[in-house]
Symmetry: C2
Subunit: 199 residues, 2 copies
Amino acid sequence: MKPQFRVLGIDDGPFTFTDPTVPVIGVVYRKGYIDAVMKSQMTVDGDDSTHIITDMVRSAGPQKQLAAVMLDGITFGGFNVVDLPALHEATGIPVITVTRDEPDMERIRKALEKMGTAPTRGRRPVPDWKERYARLEKISLVEVSTGHKPVHIAYAGLPLADAKGIVRATTVRGALPEPLRLAHLIATALVTGKSHGNP
Amino acid sequence: MKPQFRVLGIDDGPFTFTDPTVPVIGVVYRKGYIDAVMKSQMTVDGDDSTHIITDMVRSAGPQKQLAAVMLDGITFGGFNVVDLPALHEATGIPVITVTRDEPDMERIRKALEKMGTAPTRGRRPVPDWKERYARLEKISLVEVSTGHKPVHIAYAGLPLADAKGIVRATTVRGALPEPLRLAHLIATALVTGKSHGNP
């Protein structure tokens, strides 16, 4: 891995479940430097996250030579669940998802099942909830210590040691790696007008 | 000046003269790190830039201890001309504007005069064009070498040596200091969806 490797960090902004879409920000980051910023959008509780992220990776251009795509968790805009192996296959780029807290899979299963049968106020139903849950269920999370609060990662298309190395090398302050901290700051400011400090 | 001093860089996004407003991005930057991102908007060819920037500085919070506000030029969204001394007085924070090319004042005067009398297609008139030109005219620009292409700065509320020091210390790659390069990248991505490299 080159010391100046590039990572595309992707996070969504704040939204409510009655919004049709949620803004998504991509940041091409290398040590201490932002190379590019991208904005896209995904359907809230829709199923286009894998496709949109694939487009963002492609639009980063071959010259950008990404070492990895880094996602803030595996779901965007509610239950828009990324298909990690499919994303890696479509882009040819290693994928790493990072979450601070280990997800409570039983709670997620119950919430998704409810979305499939009787969604709450104004939220759009997810008829294929079982398929989306299957995507989540097949992901194994690994705890990674970073010198800050440890994070939980999933990965596809690279060895665990490399995934850990990328997460550790890009974590500067706070628990989240810089590509995700920056994508979060920008996405939040875009929606709320202001975004400070460590998410 | 502390080595980890903070600068709020502000730039507007792309716009057309028939847009009512233009998005404006603020980035609180310290060496190699973004502390905060802010989004606001200004009226295209309006006269609210000084007021909006004052609000952005205040919303950065006293804890942020800004060494300076850095502006990409002295006009935003067309001829929304910042009143530099008034901005410094209202905020108590030093102000630095940075432009890559030395402005052609005679051309600007002609364009502003036309805006006062017979604006082009769809552009809103600027009846107080003389006052806005006066704001521009009283600014003295100083060329600053940075190890890259030199830039032209105006400043208020700090000695020239400090203004030069801040510009040089924050210029990493390309001609523009990082707080402005980043504000430009984010503002452009917000409007166009994508923004790459050195503006």
